[in-house]
């Protein structure tokens, strides 16, 4: 049963299993284990990014396609919900319409980009997606009448999902709409993750790996590489869009900086690589570590800077304002120390 749920792709390492279970547990009981606005915020972000990163891993790790347009699809999902809520008013219908429309739009757009440019060389494809993504970001900023431009959109979601909806108290934790919202996000993310896990372990997933390894030969034994690539791109795009919709439901705000920026794209890339490319489980670890670092690194550096206040130079470098510096260092070190990602390292034991 469990094996089927995990599609036969068990973590294959004791330490990894323990870590994954810990993360699962922490996320499942986050509101009770770590009360507070900030921690719930962080937990929801981790859930969403796990799915987003996993969907990117499908593309990058399994199919070997480097795309910089993943945030664009993420954004499509988010804007789908935002625009629908904006246009149709607060309501479940708006969420559903926005989500479905976002996912469909992402799939279609992915197919179009794929058909036009998957034939060019991998590295050029990467650059084309980069250019397209930046063009879309500019477009969103230009169509400010619809999208809110740089400033983004605020909108309302059903009352049942907001803090105003109060249900009572359990174990000293207030049960309100926000909590329901969190569990909506959590459940959807868990399901999407398991679906992705199944896809990469299906015969289809195996073909993707073959294409990544040697596209020429895959074609020669009878796989139509272009179709497989396009399907993988569409699938990955629509899952990213779904993650975007969840993000929009959770945040009740969308804007170019939260969903479309190149910085997020790089974050995703880093999460995939830290976690371990082509493992799906890597997404869980990568997203958890990264989002935690992003949220708490500054705080941590603040205390470290205080602790080292007496030393020369050190506190300067540990100044919380320099957290980006350490993020950069993290980028570099992760590739050095985890060339196969954390999952890869745990599995080989080296």
């Amino acid at each position: 049963m469990l094996t089927r749920l995990l599609s036969g792709d068990r973590p294959r390492s004791l330490v990894l299993t323990v870590i994954l279970l810990a993360i699962l547990g922490a996320l499942a009981f986050a509101p009770f284990l770590f009360p507070g606005v900030r921690s719930l915020e962080t937990a929801a972000r981790i859930c969403i990014f796990i799915v987003l990163v996993a969907s990117y891993d499908l593309l990058l790790g399994y199919t070997g396609i480097v795309s910089f347009a993943h945030t664009m699809f993420f954004g499509l999902g988010a804007y789908g919900v935002a625009l629908a809520s904006d246009a149709m008013g607060r309501g479940w219908g708006a969420l559903a319409v926005g989500t479905v429309a976002g996912a469909l739009a992402a799939a279609v757009l992915a197919a179009v980009i794929g058909m036009f440019s998957l034939r060019v060389r991998a590295i050029f494809f990467a650059m084309i997606t980069l250019a397209v993504a930046s063009a879309v970001a500019v477009l969103v900023s230009q169509l400010s009448a619809i999208t809110g431009g740089e400033d983004g959109l605020n909108y309302s979601i059903p009352r049942e999902l907001t803090p105003a909806f109060r249900l009572g108290e359990v174990m000293g934790v207030r049960i309100n709409g926000k909590l329901l919202n969190y569990y909506l996000v959590f459940t959807c993310c868990l399901v999407l993750f398991l679906v992705l896990l199944r896809v990469v372990n299906s015969p289809f997933g195996r073909v993707l790996q073959a294409i990544r390894e040697n596209e020429f030969r895959a074609e020669a034994i009878g796989y139509r590489v272009v179709y497989y690539r396009i399907i993988a791109t569409c699938l990955s795009a629509s899952v990213a869009a779904l993650a975007g919709s969840l993000f929009a439901i959770w945040l009740r705000y969308v804007g170019p900086d939260t969903t479309l920026s190149f910085t997020i794209m790089l974050d995703i890339l880093l999460m995939v690589v830290i976690g371990g490319m082509g493992t799906i489980y890597g997404a869980v670890i990568g997203a958890a570590i990264f989002v935690l670092a992003q949220n708490y690194l500054q705080t941590l550096m603040g205390s470290a800077a205080e602790a080292t206040a007496g030393l020369p130079l050190v506190p300067d470098l540990l100044n919380p304002d320099r957290w980006l510096l350490w993020l950069g260092v993290l980028f570099i070190l992760s590739v050095y120390f985890f060339p196969t990602g954390i999952v890869g390292r745990l599995r080989t034991g080296r």
């Binding site: 900030r38 900023s141 431009g149 304002d321």
Partner: protein, 371 residues
């Protein structure tokens, strides 16, 4: 204890502005409490939060400030996008958010809620003051702005305000936000303007780097009798104004312009502590700090948000820019702007904006847009 959260983009591209804003806030609190950092015996605690210029993070941090840290009042942020994301949080927690220095009109416009006040100027104030400064009978104006909401709204407000001054707009040019080569834009403007008689001005609204002024100036617009005009800017950016002596426009702040005790104190203290004059965002931050203290004093404490709102609506307070007043309708602080002319001065390596005339609160008809 009074907890004030400063939620702003400490790191990221606007790091320089953020530092000014924070220094200003602290100076404002200090000034308004006469250095005691206490209001009616209650000590003030300032909690800093870094939005990294990310709206989602800004939102989470503001929620954290209200929810986990129990802050009474929040101040910030630098960027409009972040500010807009933060507005609903204030409503949700029913706590005050004093926006400073984000400028988008919609903060006190369509996205406003009653927990939001703004000490910073809004885009309309900028645009209208410039219209007042530049407009005049028989003047023909072309505009150049970035092609996104900030630029287009600014020009729209400018155009509206120009109505009735006798000036007319002959051409509006919008270019992509990241434009670096202005040759084509300038050629289009020249083409549109060259056959027009009378006084001709090119008004530029530009945010961020990539300064178009000196590039267009280098193409010698005086050939066609066109003068360049633009609003004020932070000190560092005034370097470019040195190439444009005599240029006119309206500015928000320049430390030598306002003549009042608050500004005198600010300039003196800032020189003493940071060895440099205060800038745009220092002044803004200070205004926010003073507003916070005044409001709490007036309401008799920081606990009761409703009392604070009641106290602040219509409240007048002294700032480095002179008296400001929170308009009750949309909580926007009304304030003076300054019509300036650029001069090259011996000891300064930038073009100095010299006051032509103060444009008072009553001279600018800032529309209320939150209905």
């Amino acid at each position: 204890e009074i907890r004030i959260a400063h939620v702003y983009g400490k790191t990221g591209p606007f790091e320089a502005y953020a530092k000014q804003s924070h220094d200003g806030l602290m100076l404002g609190l200090e000034y308004a409490t006469d250095g005691s950092m206490e209001i009616d015996g209650e000590p003030i605690v300032v909690i800093e939060k870094d939005t990294q210029l990310k709206p989602d993070l800004g939102k989470a941090l503001l929620a954290e400030a209200y929810g986990d840290d129990d802050a009474h009042i929040a101040v910030g942020p630098v960027s409009s996008g972040v500010a807009l994301a933060m507005l609903p949080v204030a409503e949700e927690y029913e706590r005050l958010l004093i926006v400073e220095p984000a400028v988008a009109d919609s903060i006190t416009g369509e996205n406003w809620n009653r927990y939001v006040f703004r000490t910073g100027r809004n885009s309309s104030q900028d645009a209208i003051s410039n219209a007042v400064a530049l407009g005049g009978e028989g003047v023909t104006i072309a505009t150049l702005a970035q092609d996104y909401a900030f630029g287009r709204d600014g020009i729209a407000a400018f155009r509206e305000a120009l109505d009735g001054t006798g000036a007319s707009i002959a051409h509006e040019e919008y270019v992509p936000t990241d434009t670096t080569d202005f040759t084509a834009a300038a050629e289009r403007i020249f083409t549109a303007m060259k056959d027009i008689e009378g006084e001709k001005r090119l008004f530029i609204i530009w945010a961020g780097g990539g300064n178009p002024m000196s590039k267009i100036q280098a193409m010698d617009p005086s050939r066609f009798g066109i003068e360049i005009a633009t609003g004020g800017n932070i000190l560092a950016a005034l370097t470019a104004y040195k190439e444009l002596p005599g240029m006119e426009g309206a500015t928000y702040y320049y430390y030598e312009i306002p003549q009042n005790p608050v500004n005198d104190w600010l300039v003196k203290e800032h020189m003493a502590r940071f060895d440099s004059p205060p800038d745009f965002f220092t002044a803004g931050g200070m205004a926010a700090g003073i507003a916070v203290v005044e409001a709490i004093r007036k309401a008799g404490g920081a606990e009761d948000t409703e009392a604070l709102i009641a106290a602040m609506e219509g409240m007048e307070f002294e700032t480095p820019k002179g008296m400001m007043r929170f308009r009750p309708e949309d909580h926007q602080a009304l304030q003076s702007m300054y019509h300036f002319r650029t001069e090259v001065q011996e000891d300064k390596d930038y073009g100095v904006p010299v006051l032509v005339r103060e444009i008072g609160i009553d001279e600018m008809d800032i529309p209320v847009r939150n209905q």
